[in-house]
Symmetry: C2
Subunit: 152 residues, 2 copies
């Protein structure tokens, strides 16, 4: 499970070896995108164990900071994310995975939405003038969290 | 420039007011996506000042952690990102902006690429078996950093 060590800036930025930077907390941010549509589904963190588990199983696996445990996406809800591609950025301190989101509801968000980014600022100009920070919904929920997460 | 205060979980997750969570370091992660193609261009951080400047000018403005200063994207390279939409996620601790990337080179990355995510893992199975963490380039650079960033 150990990943290649970080070497030097040139190698990290322009080389051809994955040398992920796990921060002081052992975590690296991960952006998750729908491989078919490009929609950003969610944003979470991985540690080395999560990344190794993701690669081994092809199921997107994060590190839950709130629960301090491995978080195999869809383990509870059934909405598994199958990883098709894994990218890293120039300085290799962020990961980007492209996934096929599956499951009966085909939703990423615990609130029942396809993507966690289901609200957008209604009016950029009003926000600039401090007059309104209103958000508009951009999609409908695909499942009822109260039913899917029975412990809630 | 003060943004609405965080209230309660229900309001943050399902309400219609932007209540961004700036971490203990005053920062919120921001994913930047091309509004036309959905390509993820970069990942950076904003503080309240950056976000206010972004809204006011519509130019994506981040907080440079390495330089500890406001970072108006494209100020030096000319590759400005015009913000068209701003989303937040369920718990409002991440922002997602959709931008029109402009400038002569139309590139986001300081290494000259359209997106900072210009490399992907060559073989997910080999990586799972710890046998190869090779990255493949997925695009060509659009400018020569040595020319654009003259200070380098």
């Amino acid at each position: 499970m150990p990943f290649p060590a970080r070497t030097n800036t040139a190698e990290i930025e322009l080389g051809k070896t994955l040398q992920p930077k796990f921060g002081p907390d052992g975590l690296i941010p991960c952006i998750t995108q729908d491989v078919a549509t490009g929609q950003v589904l969610m944003f979470a963190f991985m540690n080395a164990e999560s990344l190794a588990h993701t690669l081994k199983t092809k199921k997107a696996t994060y590190w839950s900071r709130s629960r301090s445990k491995l978080w195999i996406k869809g383990e509870e809800s059934g909405n598994v994310q199958w990883v098709k591609e894994l990218y890293t950025d120039c300085d290799q301190d962020v990961l980007l995975i492209k996934v096929e989101q599956t499951g009966s509801a085909n939703a990423s968000c615990h609130n029942g939405y396809k993507s966690c980014f289901y609200r957008k600022l209604a009016d950029l100009d009003a926000a600039a003038a401090d007059t309104s920070y209103q958000l508009n919904y951009t999609s409908e929920p695909l499942f009822d969290p109260a039913v899917v997460y029975k412990k809630k």
